[in-house]
Amino acid sequence: MSTALLTDLVIFVLSLWVGFEVISKVPATLHTPLMSAANSIHGIVLVGAMLIAATTNSWIGYVIAFLAAVFASANVVGGYVVTGRMLKMFRRRPTPAATPAQPAAARDGQSS
């Protein structure tokens, strides 16, 4: 087993533990945005796609690099935008008891 592989393995295992620690504290309310945030994070595979494009010079390499770039960038951009869109919807009561007569109208005002 090479040193490089060993280092990679250590990083992988420790990151798994960090992930378990951090993510087990996320409340159930946020589980959908969490999964969508995780989605955008695995879009980091775009880095891999870019490196293929940078090193290849065969047609099959270009085809693979192109597909990988399309997939990964859809993943990155879409993931972050949709997570942001969801998180924007989570809010506390806007102004407690400020407009008790029209609570619905007050909330609609915030939603745009």
Partner: protein, 470 residues
């Protein structure tokens, strides 16, 4: 290692730290948006570093640049459009598609690396080929499996479990065949062998998800999410990039935790869900009129009286609410009750919806403030102090039969709705839930059934309450 690539690895670790911090900030809805911004910044740093590395190395061809940039523009455009236009009810499909493309991209990275190394004079180093193969297998299974899952969620493919005689044998043979091919590729570099592994994995992904029914989707999506993370981490091993390894491991951990939580919430093992064939999905009201004698029906006006004069109301929403697109109606009813001084909260079962936390997002979209959304363990003790529990489109998760052994849902954690002083259930008919058994809650003397479509029922209730208190 040159100074430049040394520095770039350090920056990748910085980017990965942003991901960890971003996930950490998601432990509270108030800080979660900042978390997403940190995570986005990390991604921007990683991509900028990669661009700098590529430009510095200078081996990229003009075609390489074109392929990369055009691909990124097309993909980014599609992703942006999908993210901007998706309905919140369709979120599980979108997440599933992102799992698919993430897994697919990870598999492509490994396939390319294998081709590159195998075409060199010296064969690939064995340790490297193992991670390459793992990447190809997991990535391909995720790709096809997630597309099938998205198709089922969208209704393009039937959401009922699809299974055929001998399916398990076919799966086993296929897995054995794929692994044999993988073993061969390990010992002898062979491109043909690699393609066989890819095809076998793709077919396996399809066969894995087809037999899984609609209500089990929260588990499947979480599991495929964990797979994607693992595939990306393997891609990191293949190209020797720490950012990919760390990010992939984080996603793998996240998907793993959610898979476990969802399976626990249904009291079923992951293996049991994957084997599938549980119930027949959303039983389209196989109208069991029997038992009609024991149930008490209620009119909108009577239900409105109960709600308007209650001190504390807990709303129990299920997937039926989302299917009827009645989130806004329920939020309106809650608003009217609250302005009349009723304490209103929502009891959310972990598997209400088609993905973890789905119901919370749907209610948040309808402007329900998140402090009102209560998790199962927090809300269960409150039912005994509740005047009216209003159940809308939830079935199995409220069935007290889960508390005793010998039923299809025995042991499944449920919401203690039957502890409330009175219960109103809005439902179209006496049809069964996913588990296909009678719900004993409906025949409870404290329960009144309001037979109507969720959306109509809620608007009727709201106007009835308004007339009462207005």
């Amino acid at each position: 290692m040159s100074g430049f690539s040394f520095a770039s690895q350090l920056i990748y670790v910085l980017a990965a730290s942003c991901f960890v911090l971003g996930l950490h900030l998601m432990n509270n809805p108030a800080s979660a948006r900042r978390g997403n911004q940190f995570s986005t910044a990390g991604m921007a740093i990683a991509i900028a570093t990669t661009l700098a590395l590529i430009a510095h190395a200078g081996v990229i061809t003009a075609t390489g640049w074109t392929v990369m940039l055009v691909g990124a523009l097309i993909g980014g455009g599609v992703g942006l459009y999908a993210a901007r236009t998706v309905q919140m009810t369709a979120m599980p499909q979108l997440v599933s598609m992102f799992n698919a493309v993430g897994g697919g991209a990870a598999a492509l990275v490994a396939i390319h690396d294998y081709i590159r190394v195998a075409s060199a004079v010296v064969g690939p180093a064995e340790s490297m080929t193992i991670t390459t193969l793992l990447d190809v297998i997991i990535g391909s299974v995720t790709f096809s499996g997630s597309i099938i899952a998205a198709g089922k969620l969208q209704g393009v493919i039937t959401s009922a479990p699809v299974t055929f005689p001998g399916a398990r044998v076919v799966n086993l043979v296929l897995a054995a065949f794929g692994l044999a091919a993988a073993g061969y590729v390990l010992s002898t570099p062979s491109l043909a062998g690699l393609w066989i592994v890819v095809v076998a994995s793709l077919v396996f992904g399809v066969l894995m998800v087809m037999p899984i029914g609609g209500a089990d989707m929260p588990v499947v999506i979480s599991l495929l999410n964990a797979f994607t993370g693992t595939a990306v981490a393997m891609a990191g091993f293949v190209i020797g990039n720490w950012a990919l390894i760390i990010a992939g491991a984080l996603v793998g951990a996240s998907g793993g935790i959610l898979t476990k939580l969802m399976a626990d919430a249904m009291n079923r093992s992951i293996g049991n869900i994957i084997v599938g064939g549980f119930g027949t999905g959303d039983t389209a009201a196989a109208v069991v009129v029997a038992g009609g004698a024991d149930v008490k029906a209620i009119s909108a006006d009577d239900a409105a009286i109960q709600l308007a004069y209650a001190g504390k109301v807990i709303i129990v929403p299920g997937y039926g609410l989302a299917a009827a697109q009645a989130q806004h109606e329920v939020a309106e009813l809650a608003d009217v009750l609250e302005s009349h001084g009723v304490d209103v909260s929502y009891a959310i079962h972990p598997v209400a919806g088609r993905m973890p936390g789905h119901m919370n997002v749907l209610l948040a979209e309808a402007n329900v403030p998140y402090p009102q959304l209560k998790e199962m363990d927090d809300v269960n003790p409150e039912f005994a102090r509740t005047d009216v529990a209003l159940v809308i489109g939830a079935n199995d998760v409220t069935n007290p039969a889960a508390r005793r052994p010998g039923t299809a849902i025995s042991g499944m954690p449920i919401l203690d709705v039957d502890q409330a002083k009175s219960i109103i259930v809005i439902k179209r008919s006496m049809g069964h839930g996913y588990a296909g058994i009678d719900n004993e809650l409906y025949t409870n003397p404290k329960t009144s059934m309001y037979f109507a479509d969720a959306k109509t029922a809620l608007s009727e209730l709201t106007s009835a309450v308004k007339t009462l208190v207005g």
